[in-house]
């Protein structure tokens, strides 16, 4: 699979947290959905998500997926953004012992994956404590 193609398709999602908003009931979703989870409408349009939220749960992963070895140990969290949307992402610029459930975080633009010294670099959102 060519990751570069799906990455290109998704760059607005990864760079600016563009999800969707339901035209009927105004609820927002990220990742985007095809059918509104609240009212069942299929009228959904792109909408940028708020960049701040709080940690609902987190982990320090010691054995990463292939290709992420240089990021071990990796902090991951499920973040509830200020519009109520929940999103998964890495938590960076801190250590596990500093984290607590409920901590405030904000989204930042960072390198996600790098495919070798001459390969493509993939960017996207990560979270830092505020």
């Amino acid at each position: 699979m060519k990751l570069s193609i799906s990455y290109w398709r998704l760059k607005d999602r990864y760079y600016r947290l563009v999800g969707v908003r339901c035209e009927e009931c105004k609820n927002e979703f990220f990742p985007p959905v095809y059918v509104c989870r609240r009212c069942g409408s299929r009228s959904l349009t792109d909408k940028e998500m708020p960049k701040t939220g709080k940690i609902l749960t987190y982990t320090e992963l010691k054995e990463t997926l292939a290709g992420f070895e240089d990021q071990e140990p990796m902090l991951l969290g499920i973040i509830q953004l200020d519009n109520g949307v929940r999103i998964l992402g890495q938590i960076v610029d801190t250590a596990a012992e500093n984290l607590s459930i409920g901590d405030r975080v904000k989204a930042v633009f960072r390198k996600i994956q790098e495919h070798g010294s001459s390969g493509q670099i993939f960017y996207g959102y990560k979270f830092v404590r505020t």
Binding site: S6, L10, R37, E60, L61, T64, L65, Q90
Partner: protein, 384 residues
């Protein structure tokens, strides 16, 4: 509609089968099941498997296994539903038998995991999760379950030792199971001191990686007379789904797919959860076992782990659960797991379970999960 019966079962040991291919394993289990009921000629093969394309560069398992069994001509196909592939393969056959389309079929669940490096196994397992919003960011399957475990411990004040109860139970039961991957007891201290994989989950919270295959020969009531020994009916097989990713759910600690599938299966069998006297739960991770018994309605919300610690799911004086070690002790060759659970439930209900036989087991429920409760398959088996 026809009733469905288990005519016989087969399974390999679970573990490192360096000298056996994915096909070798499937054939070994398949032959055992066919030999157990020699008069039954299957009319259909369904293979449960998750990632043969990644592990063995082999797809098209239906025709491959049919030919390996020497049954060229027989229709065969593969069913994939992540770690619930085995249960879903059985469900597919159950529905064909119920519909009266066929009278006999062989289900084979198989997975070859040890040919992959550990990083590749993590990647293959994580293919069950969103490629775009989970895998892309480096979150492995274990890390999702670890976040679930942290939330569970936080919300319900669950301790490290509470969480360890299911792994301890599984390993105790695996000691007498000749096909189990780890036939050794572990203590609460062992679990608490084992290596951290993804905090708070430790090595002994997680099911191991291993190769294995299991098989079921299923027949309609027209062929039930061909079955030797006690008749075990597959009374119901149902499935349900949850929101795809854990983080998309309003209540991450509600295993809604398991809850829905179990409700449908018990209703279809005309039984309640209180009638169940043998249980197979999908203990891929300690926290998953705990949330599963809660979703099944056996433990109150937040009490699954504590109930296990207090002996509620013990072989002795409890609701006998995972008596061959479950995913944790027997092992978890992912696409085969659901079929192992059913083979083991059959052994209990047919009173062929050996040292870990549960007295008077008559109704068994097996819960098989793909993803973090994203897909659940629940079977109810009943001794006739």
């Amino acid at each position: 509609m026809s009733r469905v019966y288990v005519a016989s079962v087969g399974y390999t040991t679970v573990g490192d089968h360096w000298n056996k291919s994915i096909l070798d394993l499937a054939i070994e289990a398949g032959f055992q099941a066919l030999t157990g009921a020699p008069k039954v000629k299957p009319e259909q093969l369904v293979v449960g498997n998750m990632f043969s394309g990644l592990s063995s560069r082999q797809e098209h398992l239906g025709a491959l296994v049919v030919n390996g069994l020497g049954l060229t001509g027989l229709p065969g196909f593969k069913v994939e539903a992540a770690c619930a592939s085995g249960g879903m393969a059985s469900l597919a056959v159950f529905n064909m038998l119920k519909a009266g389309q066929i009278d006999s079929a062989l289900v084979v669940g198989v997975e070859k995991m040890r040919d992959l490096d550990p990083g590749e196994v993590s990647q293959a397992l994580c293919a069950a999760e969103s490629a775009e919003y989970t895998q892309f960011f480096g979150a492995s399957f274990v890390s999702l379950n670890a976040m679930l475990a942290r939330l569970y411990m936080y919300e319900f004040d669950v301790s490290r030792d509470d969480l360890s109860a299911f792994p301890v139970l599984a390993h105790r039961n695996a000691v007498n199971a000749t096909h189990a991957q780890f036939r050794k007891e572990v203590s609460y201290e062992d679990v608490a001191r084992s290596m951290v994989i993804s905090d708070p989950l430790r090595l002994l919270d997680c099911a191991p990686v291993g190769d294995g295959a299991a098989a079921l020969l299923l027949v309609s009531e027209d062929l039930a007379g061909q079955v030797k020994g006690p008749l075990v009916e597959m009374a119901a097989a149902e499935s349900a789904t949850n929101r795809f990713s854990l983080y998309e759910r309003d209540d991450m600690l509600d295993f809604a797919a398991t809850r829905l599938a179990a409700h449908k299966a018990l209703k279809s069998a005309g039984l309640s959860i209180n009638d169940v006297d043998y249980l197979e739960v999908h203990d891929a991770f300690s926290v998953v076992a705990s949330l599963s018994v809660e979703a099944l309605g056996l433990s109150k919300k937040g009490q699954g782990a504590r109930d296990a610690r207090e002996g509620k799911y013990a072989r002795e004086n409890g609701l006998a659960t995972n008596c061959f070690g479950g995913l944790k002790g027997r092992g978890h060759p992912v696409g085969a797991t659901g079929v192992y659970q059913l083979a083991e439930t059959y052994l209990q209900l047919a009173h062929k379970a050996g040292p870990n036989q549960v007295d008077d087991a008559s109704v068994g429920l097996a819960q098989n999960v793909g993803g973090v409760d994203t897909t659940a398959v629940v079977h109810v088996l009943r001794r006739s």
